[in-house]
Subunit: 509 residues, 2 copies
């Protein structure tokens, strides 16, 4: 920014949104930045509420930007923040506010992912730290040979972190929310699946193991989702916490009673402002461990399982993976995105996101772009439950794991080896020098299709066709071209016919 | 070993002690070792019970060693394993078993520490991984600015891990078991101390913080220790778990009732064979967080505290720090100890420990030695409670933190800055190359007095005196020498008079 014009000034809003609304800021000079460069955490500015949505909030943001005559407002965050950035860009333009709004894809959950955004800043670091810890737990498990470790990882709507960590550390089992949702697995089906794994391992004389689950798993289980919905509705209607159990539907009440008491207590806890069951407060890993133990005891009693008694240890890897020193990849990614923001502002674009594709390649082959935020937004029918958005409001939706993608095929292919062979992988702590210092997320290196690169390749072909078919070309060549183009056209018409992805998919099992 | 004689053979006992008793072993060839070198965990051989103590166990070990005609038995472990090694060495010698027993100081808790053993293999790695996680939590705390993190670390009898981690990561508060034991702080005094810290920070507008405690803290609190003793005694006398509360003394019962229900439940849990309350199963960090919250609410109600509501998040860093890739320092330390073992065996010594002093210096200045295990052993009066040893049995006792040492002074000096200034330090993950790859434990670099080096210096002086005072020296020089030596003798006689360190120290407060 200073290279473009030494008079350029960068301001940071204290606490993020709160500072934006209250016009509290700090000039970010080289001096201020020097001790924060390449460091983790949000402690330079702090963080408050990650939302700019209400009329008051939007107006406050707009008046700050106008008062300060800002050329640009750069909003750094995940799906929520970038959706808000798009709305803000539109509002600013409508009210002739000259500040251009730019989004930057930064979130550790990795659920802001599409053809333009291959991964988000922070995802690599969080997955590396978690994988390091998971592999430590794996080695501890196999050393003692007597405990099953149930490890819960961050990740609400989508299980990207658990997925990437599974590919990095090779635990014995991983249950992804997306798999459960697709197969509509019930709680007992999941428990039985885990118990079958425990039995298969016992048959090989193994009484230890490591199981990964994402935080959001509990919401992916159909009957648990329904129960959480009922509890949330009662809560929204101001039913006091102690009356909630008695007002559940008979069906939900039966499930509620079946759950161990510590989970019942956690389900009716509502501490945060958005009135939804706090996923990070539900000890799903303990629920599963508890139910697996009960089921293994049952199998032992009935004589179906003859192995040693099942024992478990539970872990939740939450804040200990955040605030980490960022990986080289995340630092590079963030620096380049910063440069792109300056270019976008210099061009005067509004409502765009700074993006880079072809990240799997070396830095000098990265492809920088400014993508309209609207290109990532869509309107869905009303979503019930936690995090619901009003009908008809276009937002950037969290992207679930693509179960048809190559990286998922890799995981499935290795699943039975992971389960039985203790094929643990030990990535160690994030390295800043030496071999391994420049590794990237495995999912990125497997999938990373260069969308913008492919579009360029297509443009090249179209240009070549145009050059060959200039007036004056032979009748035969023209005929061949018409035939080919008509065929391409037909194929693409069929392939791009609107497919309502939001309709429920019925499975005939 | 192979360099000494290519026909030398190294056997590893499967599962450690269990393999030793059952004569189950594995030849450790270069090939077997290749994929385990510089890796963490005990998964090459596995681990079972860390004890060779009963007559059956000792006899089984002896018959294995005799049957295999082993030249040496190398026992790797902490205070317990090395105490057992000493007893085994004596027993073997008495029964004319030719196998020499050698101990190697390896334990992550760092409590095998004396003038010969400056630190143990594993301690550096575990402290580095924990410090990495603590610093992540610190940055997360200061970023959000609204939670206090209560972090419990491994470490039973001694708080070395918590101490070293505090020096590495600079959390706001750390409570060491040794401090609590020395000052005989009650539970409520500890709570008040923490609450005063919370208030002092609130006065500066800070509502976040990080507190470290060692696993063993709960046993250092006098009234909690007494309660745990009573529960253990009832348990040993086969009182069923549900009757324990009603059979406590009125005093202990009152404390028991005061504790939150989740701690009460944990206190009466007895899962392991040694019949002692399982420290790692008592969520001391949750107990403290719970009581601090209650006390802060009381202070708010009484109008003494006017800050924001106190909120906490609890963590236990257990197995996720074990099984880590070892640090360069730990690898080097272990390799050199291995070489020393070969030398000890070649010399035919029995009942010795391989040691290295001057570890704080570069590797080529390390001072290798074989130290008789008995030099580290002492007899103490009967210890009650968990881990008690029979009266009169000489053992290597766990060394507590030396509160008079320089490194503790460093911590105390910085305590108020740590508390108020958020002077967090971010060591990051263990590095294997580049700057920081060869760091050592901070306590080691502060304290690391080279005991064996000092003994050599003294020997040098004595030799010089002897040379100067050869018959033929002048009367004056002889007179001066006698006067000086007599003075040295007097001083040392007083300083080395037996001081019964086991007598209780009375504090007049």
């Amino acid at each position: 920014m200073k290279a473009q014009n030494p008079h350029n000034v960068l301001l940071g809003f204290i606490g993020g949104t709160e500072g934006l609304f209250a016009k509290k800021m700090l000039e970010i000079t080289d001096d201020v930045l020097s001790s924060y460069k390449n460091q983790g955490g949000f402690d330079l500015l702090g963080r408050t509420v990650d939302q700019i949505r209400t009329t008051e909030q939007v107006n406050a943001a707009m008046s700050t930007c106008c008062d300060l005559s800002l050329d640009g407002l750069i909003i750094i965050g995940g799906v929520t923040s970038n959706s808000d950035a798009a709305q803000l860009a539109e509002t600013f333009a409508k009210h002739n506010c000259n500040t251009k709004v730019i989004g930057v894809p930064v979130t550790l959950s990795g659920d802001l992912k599409n053809q333009f955004v291959e991964t988000t800043v922070g995802f690599d670091t969080v997955c590396k730290v978690n994988s390091q810890l998971i592999s430590n737990v794996c080695l501890d498990a196999v050393s003692a040979g007597k405990y099953y470790y149930f490890v819960r990882l961050m990740g609400g709507k989508a299980s990207h972190v658990a997925f990437e960590c599974a590919l990095q550390s090779h635990p014995n089992m991983v249950i992804l929310g997306e798999e459960v949702a697709l197969s509509k697995l019930t709680l007992m089906e999941i428990i039985n699946k885990i118990c079958d794994g425990v039995e298969a391992r016992a048959a090989r004389g193994k009484y230890h193991g490591v199981l990964l689950i994402p935080e959001g798993l509990i919401e992916s289980i159909p009957e648990m989702y329904a129960l959480i919905q009922e509890i949330n509705n009662l809560y929204i209607n101001n039913v006091p916490e102690d009356e909630i159990p008695s007002q559940l539907s008979p069906w939900a009440a039966a499930l509620f009673k079946f759950l161990p008491s510590f989970i019942r207590r956690e389900l009716v806890l509502h501490q945060e402002s958005d009135n939804s069951a706090q996923l990070s407060q539900i000890d799903t890993e303990q629920l599963l461990a508890h139910l697996v133990e009960a089921e293994m005891n049952r199998r032992t009693k009935e004589g179906n399982y003859k192995g040693r008694k099942f024992s478990s240890v539970c872990h939740f890897f939450g804040s200990q993976a955040r605030g980490s020193l960022p990986s080289n990849f995340d630092c590079n990614y963030a620096y380049v995105l910063g440069h792109i923001c300056v270019q976008i502002l210099a061009t005067g674009l509004n409502g765009y996101m700074a993006t880079i594709t072809n990240l799997k390649d070396s830095t000098n082959k990265w492809r920088c772009a400014a993508v309209p935020l609207t290109a990532m937004m869509s309107v869905r029918r009303h979503l019930r439950g936690p995090g619901a958005v009003p009908i008809g409001r276009p937002v950037i939706h969290p992207s679930p794991i693509d179960l048809k993608a190559e990286s998922y095929a890799v995981l499935r292919e290795k699943a039975s080896s992971f389960l039985l062979d203790d094929f643990y992988r030990t990535p160690g702590g994030i390295q800043f020098e030496g071999p391994g210092a420049n590794t990237k997320p495995i999912t990125l290196t497997i999938e990373g299709h260069d969308y913008l690169g492919d579009i360029e390749i297509l443009q090249d072909y179209l240009n070549k066709v145009r050059t060959i078919l200039k007036p004056g070309c032979s009748r035969e060549i023209l005929k061949a071209a018409i035939s080919s183009m008509s065929s391409v056209n037909d194929v693409l018409k069929v392939m791009s016919a609107p497919l309502n992805a939001e309709l429920p998919l019925y499975h005939f099992n």
